[in-house]
Amino acid sequence: MSKYKMHILVCGGTGCRASESDAIVANLKKELAAKELENEVQVIMTGCFGFCEKGPIVKIMPDNTFYVQVKPEDVVEIVNEHIIKGRKVMRLLYLDPTSQDHISDSKHMEFYKKQIRIALRNCGFINPENVDEYIARDGYLALGKALTEMKPQDVIDEIKKSGLRGRGGGGFPTGLKWDFASKNKADQKYVVCNADEGDPGAFMDRSILEGDPHSVIEAMALCGYSIGATKGLVYIRAEYPLAIHRLKVAIDQAREYGLLGDDIMGTGFSFDIELRYGAGAFVCGEETALIHSMEGLRGEPTVKPPFPAESGYKAMPTNVNNVETLASVPVILLKGAEWFASIGTEKSKGTKVFALAGKINNVGLIEVPMGTTLREVIFEIGGGIKNGKKFKAVQTGGPSGGCLTEKHLDTPIDFDNLIAAGSMMGSGGMIVMDEDDCMVSVAKFFLEFTVEESCGKCAPCRIGNKRLHELLDRITKGNGTLEDLDRLRNLSHVIKDTALCGLGQTSPNPVLSTLDNFYNEYLDHVNEKKCTAGQCKALMTYVIDPDACVGCTACARNCPVNAIAGERKQPHVINPAICIKCGACIEKCKFNAISIK
């Protein structure tokens, strides 16, 4: 078993699989067998390494060589050069963008330098479909320790002491939540894992379930023991097939080993887990809506109180935790609350996983201590803005969050600082925007999302958001007035104050934060009828400079709607009434005669 001299880890996350990492594994196995090395070199498909920008990733151990953007056809060279001759394949190593050095050890890459991986500790390290590897990494030890050496209340106190707060967005203290559920007496209680990840651009929960499903299973059992529940439910989106598959495999293996089921480790404690599939409605991430959806009812939220801890699934006390929160629990019990509390800021302990997306060089999944600044995340780990453009804003917290700007870059990220800055942590999605992004359009995009996802139960959310969207739409089309800006702000506050659930209460945030931080851009749209970022098509006019135009007819020939007229060798003219602002003429003009006004 341990005869293997080398391990080849291949990323098996959804992203890398989309880039054929399956074929890389198959080719590796084939090539190694052909060289009679299959008993010396082991090929393992792991979860996500996080550096999705550079995927598929192949890591060779113990050489600790990190190959990026590997293609199935590169396998022969890796085996012949690296595995057989011990020479690193230079062209597949990561190229540091500033120093232009090839880097083979991920620890030396800017992307990984500042990261501390707690929730992601096993992602990209173990085979998620093999419980043995999880056990070898201290898996289920926290559960064993709790069941044999700790009382349920001890576990709750330890989690309380660690300062762990909910990673799904709310930031509610996890230990306190468990305490409430434990204090409510009932014949049956439930532990629910909220895997209904829905923020645009966020994929940490999916990656954890794909890369380390057992950590979530173990944490759910721990929670069950603490609050006195014997049943666990995972509410997961049906659109996460790989995460569902790996979770099922993991649950089966845990049952087979007696780590789920009756009388776990001979302690008399029983716990089992079932899956419930969601149809991908954003509002079902809200815990009361989630519970109704699991009960087979419409996914609509209800007023709290009663909180799920009193009356949740089937009107029984229910504890709902997010995937990332749960993934941090076993480590806290093993390494101690003090260890966890020593990482992070005063009120936000530990680490947080962020999904970097948008106009950033290193798209991917990162885990950093709370208190890391946005600047460190975007410019050091994220490698800065794509194509050397200028940073404009970063949107955090998804549709419930807001846009933060240059002036917030040095704010240490934690739950409270982000709220003070007018945004929120949310589930950890970070969408980076550059000078080409129009902030009014960004607000409109998020409102479009909320209008689509509103369940329609309460009027402020159903009707209010629709009106917000209409106002924004009007402004982007050049028909907005100054009164509209006031209306936007007032309506936003009304919705925030009166909506029923978290979705409605936070949906105006993208509007308010862009109004606060980019008011001038709104004014430009309203007063000057101008979109400086050049995104709002209705506000653009394409003009041909008669002095620069030589009359080559290239633009006229390529215009799909025949909006350009002019004689050969004479300056051409665009008819703005016909022009659809597609930009085809600018691309074709060799004389830079066409510009957007």
Binding site: S104, G139, L141
Partner: protein, 130 residues
Amino acid sequence: MTKVKSLADLKQMKANLEAKVNLREKAETVEDHVQVKVAMATCGIASGAKTVMEYLIEEFDKRGISAVVTQTGCMGYCYAEPTIEVKRPGEEPVVFGYVDKKKVDEIIEKYIRNGELVDGIIPVNYQSIK
């Protein structure tokens, strides 16, 4: 079939399974372990580098020394094959030439355990990329 009947069972199981991921864990914290690179180019292999490498892995295991053994290409000392490079934690690497099983014993017991230099050292004349 229940495999894990108690916490003791689980701990036993972990001890047995540790080897499965041990190699990966050590590689992540490579600076804390003895690192040995065996030159495994044609010249090295022809002179017995493969046997030396296998022997090293087995002996480290038997003697309870936490080490990472990797293979590397030709180090350029073809006249002195098999050659190995040994790096004790926090120290500069040292290259030994003409290594066989007997030499491995000596290197492990004298140099790796106690830092005593033994015969057969070749001055290092290259730099590696990080």
